[in-house]
């Protein structure tokens, strides 16, 4: 597919975070999280995003057809987003994969994330999902990288006006209590696509 045919939708979450929904799969090997330019080495898409001038990118998370970018710079997403779109198109048009496969981590590090994944997965299955199911919701554990948990919300949670409360006061609080080694939670949900949110917002 020619780069011009690739459709990319930017969905800013706030001034620091923005999700880019790409019409083509960007990375089929699960979730990859890049927390620095060094992490990004070998993955043209992430390398390019970290190199965007003035954005001061702090993090890039790639999963399926979603690219989530966290920046520290003051440049607005209107500017940075265009550059991100160019990088994504160029990376997908390149000869090498846009995102390299997840490297086999040293045994200790890999074991840490793998262990955390198992513990978080158990918590989600035994406690988190039965709770959100009462509102018709579901929370998928996508991956754990560098002790950061990546989740995707579905059902009544997707697009729900209280999704941030569920994430921070519910899921994150439970993780702090039951899996304290977890350093953070990232929501990679495409909330705009939620067609049946449990709570919908109205002005004032």
């Amino acid at each position: 597919m020619a780069p011009a045919d690739i459709r990319i939708t930017a969905e800013p979450i706030d001034t620091g975070r923005c999700k880019f929904v790409v019409s083509e799969p960007v990375h089929g090997g699960g979730v990859r999280r890049f927390a620095s330019p060094d992490d990004a080495s070998g993955s043209p898409l992430a390398e390019g995003i970290f190199a965007i001038p003035g954005a001061d990118v702090a993090e890039v998370i790639v999963s399926g057809n979603l690219v989530t970018v966290v920046k520290r710079g003051p440049a607005p997403w209107q500017t940075v987003g265009k550059a991100v779109g160019q990088v994504i198109r160029a990376a997908l048009a390149g000869a090498s994969p846009a995102v390299a496969p997840k490297p086999v981590a040293p045994a200790t590090l890999g074991a840490d994330d793998d262990t955390l994944y198992e513990r978080v997965a158990d918590l989600f299955e035994s406690q988190v999902n039965p709770m959100v199911a009462r509102h018709g919701g579901r929370v998928e554990l996508i991956d754990v990288q560098d002790a950061v948990v990546m989740v995707r919300m579905a059902g009544g949670c997707q697009g729900c006006g209280m999704a941030d409360v569920t994430l921070r006061q519910g899921i994150e609080a439970m993780l702090q209590q039951h899996v304290p080694d977890v350093k953070g939670v990232v929501d990679i949900t495409d909330h705009a696509a939620g067609s049946n949110p449990y709570f919908a917002a109205a002005k004032k």
Binding site: A58, R72, P74, H135, T166, A173, A192, A200, A201
Partner: protein
């Protein structure tokens, strides 16, 4: 690990608010311990009893008693309400717990349009001439005694829902019956309709913060689209205002007098005023921040290269409630604006086209579609939900306004009207 002296904020978040993400994020950035209170229980409440609590947000006194019980185990240092109803609840809780906030009577006066008009008129604040009619009165009889044009308003509905202009007696009768139906649909306990003179002129919105009774203006927005009725769905807000400085000072003074007349002393205020040859007229003043997602148009401080150098409106409100130092109340130097996307028609939303194209336009920073697929869109005056918001920033208010309009023109809403 949190320090023992980390303050705990009680955030009153109705489940239908747009403001969840902005306030939760503000609390996170400031590192405060957050307790979220809603009118319906979170499914996580048992798992996080200090972080989630259910309060009866429809009964401020009862909510205050519930909050007092909660605070015995989880001491609270501040309380914030995010909308008209929770502003009253926050005042009741602040009073009960000795926290920073408004008197309940003041918050109630701001909440009820008739009580507000009465207080302001008594204090000499310019407000439209008004009267209150029970919904059970015969509108044909009332119509003969009302000057035209006039505006009919429910006392407590938000977002100009049910607000209708009438130019003739026939208009009045039709509008009266329509407002009555809207009140019934909304389940309003208040069975009266406020009727006030229509005030011609341009409309402005003032965002402010009360500090010990002193109003600090955070932003004055122009509303460049005429709001002349018959319905009053809002569209564009742009700041800084293009009003001459002297008139801006008059607007701020009018809002300050209104806040004082109501007895408000602490926290956010959002005022809507009209300006004509007679000067500013106070149309509404609420003890809460700007509605919807519109606060995204505001940021404070000087920015810079590091994360966190801009402060959001919500951060300022949280800091104020907790007595934390507020680094700056100065809005950024750039012009900024937001468009509340008008409801394009009645029906079920299938799809919104052109969003990417709108986002790519110069100065456009964000296009947020908050209506979800298959959501029923209801136009004003029955409706109160915008399908989305457009944000833009630029060097001048004119450029920002043009960008918002250009972005809106790119959007196409696909609606099934069956």
């Amino acid at each position: 690990m949190l320090r023992p002296d980390t303050p705990r904020l009680l955030l009153l978040l109705p489940t239908a608010t747009y403001r969840t993400a902005a306030f939760v994020e503000a609390a996170r950035r400031l590192g405060v311990v957050l307790t979220v209170a809603s009118e319906r229980p979170s499914t996580f409440q048992d798992a996080n009893p200090g972080g989630l609590v259910t309060l009866d947000l429809s009964e401020p006194d009862r909510a205050a008693a519930q909050a007092r019980a909660f605070a015995r185990e989880h001491p609270l240092q501040g309380v914030v309400g995010v909308d008209d109803d929770t502003a009253v609840v926050a005042a009741a809780i602040a009073t009960a717990l000795g926290l920073r906030g408004n008197d309940v009577a003041a918050a109630r006066a701001a909440r009820d349009k008739h009580e507000q008009r009465t207080s302001l008129a008594t204090a000499g604040v310019p407000v439209p001439h008004f009267r209150l009619f029970p919904v059970d009165e015969d509108p044909r009889r009332l119509a003969a005694g009302v000057p035209y044009p006039c505006v009919l308003k429910p006392l407590r509905l938000a977002a100009s829902r049910g607000v209708i202009r009438a130019d003739t007696q026939e208009d009045f009768v039709a509008a009266f019956e329509r407002v009555k139906r809207i009140l019934e649909q909304a389940g309003c306990a208040t069975r009266s309709i406020l009727v006030e003179d229509f005030v011609p002129g341009r409309e402005y919105a003032l965002e402010g913060l009360l500090l010990a009774g002193e109003l600090r203006v955070l932003a004055l927005f122009d509303k460049p689209d005429p709001l002349d009725g018959p319905y009053f769905e809002e569209t564009i807000y742009v700041t800084p205002s293009r009003l001459p400085a002297e008139e801006q000072r008059a607007v701020a003074a009018c809002a300050g007098r209104a806040a004082a007349a109501l007895g408000l002393r602490e926290g956010p205020v959002h005022a809507e005023l009209r300006v004509n040859g007679s000067g500013p007229w106070l149309i509404e003043l609420a003890a809460r921040p700007i509605g919807g997602r519109c606060s995204g148009a505001l940021r404070f401080g000087t920015g810079g290269s590091g994360l966190g150098t801009w402060a959001s409106l919500e951060e300022i409100i949280v800091r104020h409630a907790l007595g934390m130092q507020i680094p700056s109340l100065e809005r950024e130097s750039q012009a900024s604006g937001v468009m509340m996307i008008p409801v394009p028609g009645a029906g079920v939303l299938r799809e919104v086209r052109g969003v990417d194209e709108a986002r790519r336009l110069p100065l456009v920073e964000e296009v947020v579609i908050t209506a979800h697929p298959d959501q029923e869109l209801v136009p004003w005056p029955e409706g109160a939900r915008y399908p989305g918001f457009i944000f833009a920033r630029g060097d001048t208010p004119e450029a920002v306004e043009a960008a918002l309009r250009a972005a809106h023109r790119r959007l196409q809403f696909v609606i099934a009207s069956d």
